[in-house]
């Protein structure tokens, strides 16, 4: 006839845990003594130990109650079930960890393979940190939202970077960030970009475009947001491509 504190001590839980198990109908309420204290028997201790073994293996308390309510369930079957569930959870966690490691493997924190190398080349070619960081975020977005087509876009972009003339255009784009939006140089740059775009893609659209996606527009807006000159450049390029 032990008290709740002693029972808790034997079972390695807190008294609160025992009271919760009473409230949830997992463990029967014991008799009370004259002053209202709960008085437990060996049977309670045995039940509690079995309950804890299942609970620690991750079996939900509601499921444990079911198992105990059905008197002919085999404890061993329940343990096997718990074992399988644990195996599945371990597998999921391992998968998450794999993903995490792949993401962390690149130089830029969260990026898919390939993007890290691309960003390294941007840096090596002397693009500004602002440009590199912007690209890192935008490729992350593109790879997350359009995992199938993003790689194609990245290949295209890498090809552009390998061409000195096209690379120079992007360099100029990068450097135009702080210009006055009224600077006539922007019109010149826009014209050159329009011509290069026409040369590269002709009538066909850009590669790796998902139909009816908001993402490209979202990205262009994000680019424009940081500079009035870039906004102006965007306007001029669009006008040139339409006209």
């Amino acid at each position: 006839m032990i008290t709740i504190g002693r029972l808790a001590q034997y079972a390695g839980v807190t008294t609160k845990t025992i009271r919760v198990y009473h409230a949830k109908g997992l463990l029967p309420e014991p008799e009370r003594d004259a002053s209202g204290y709960r008085r437990y028997t060996a049977q309670h201790a045995i039940d509690l130990i079995k309950i804890r073994t299942l609970a620690e293996a991750g079996v939900p308390l509601a499921r444990i109650r079911e198992l105990r309510a059905d008197p002919d369930t085999d404890l061993r079957a329940a343990l096997h079930e718990a074992d399988l569930a644990l195996t599945a959870r371990i597998r999921d966690l391992r998968r998450t960890q794999q993903r995490l490691r792949r993401l962390a493997g690149g130089d830029a924190g969260l990026l898919p393979p390939g993007v890290g190398a691309y960003l390294d080349r941007l840096r090596a070619y002397g693009f500004s940190p602002r440009w590199v960081n912007l690209q890192a975020d935008l490729w992350l977005l593109l790879f997350t939202t359009h995992p199938r087509t993003a790689a194609e876009s990245l290949d295209d972009q890498a090809g552009i970077l390998a061409d000195p003339a096209l690379r120079a255009l992007f360099h100029d784009y990068d450097r135009a960030h702080g210009l006055d939006p009224g600077d006539p140089y922007l019109q010149d740059l826009a014209d050159r970009i329009v011509r290069a775009t026409r040369d590269r893609y002709g009538a066909a659209g850009l590669p790796g475009q998902e139909p009816a996606s908001d993402i490209p527009e979202l990205i262009q807006r994000a680019v424009n947001a940081s500079s009035p000159a870039w906004r102006r450049l965007d306007t001029l390029i669009r006008r040139g491509l339409r006209g």
Copy 2:
């Protein structure tokens, strides 16, 4: 300028999740359009993707908010931290699974090694299922509450079982379950048990007893609970050992 539903779709979450992140200060609230709808930018999408990557790795949202509030924390450091936490969780789960498997390995469900073999021998010697089940529960209780000394007690008990004369006493104890508590046979059995106990342990106490533990008394009460004859037997044995 996408709506919350589209953003959720891109990030692979529900709209509720996004609202929760707003409420917890993880993701800034975007502008609203004329009818009060939230309108998100690419920056929101990028932030949300980064938040989800950490959250899926098990980083608590409160910690993610800290990381983002501190602008010069490295996302990679956070990822490494998450990786370590995942490793620890996987290790814990594996440990739980090991324990589960050790427990399930025995024939009796939850029992430590050694007890399963002991119970098998009880069955082989023809003890009743009631007795075997009772023993299973009681050894589980003893091993859980007194892990250091229980093995010693079990060894002692196994030794008793190996002695045909002593085994017969326990057999008689088992079979006395249904007797009338007034049956004079009980006095005879009690006398034999008292003599055997004296012979085996002499003045020294029983082996493997923890000082000041309620468990032995609890166990005896649990045994007594199932049979008036056993209660009577307990009384007579105690009287015999005292006198």
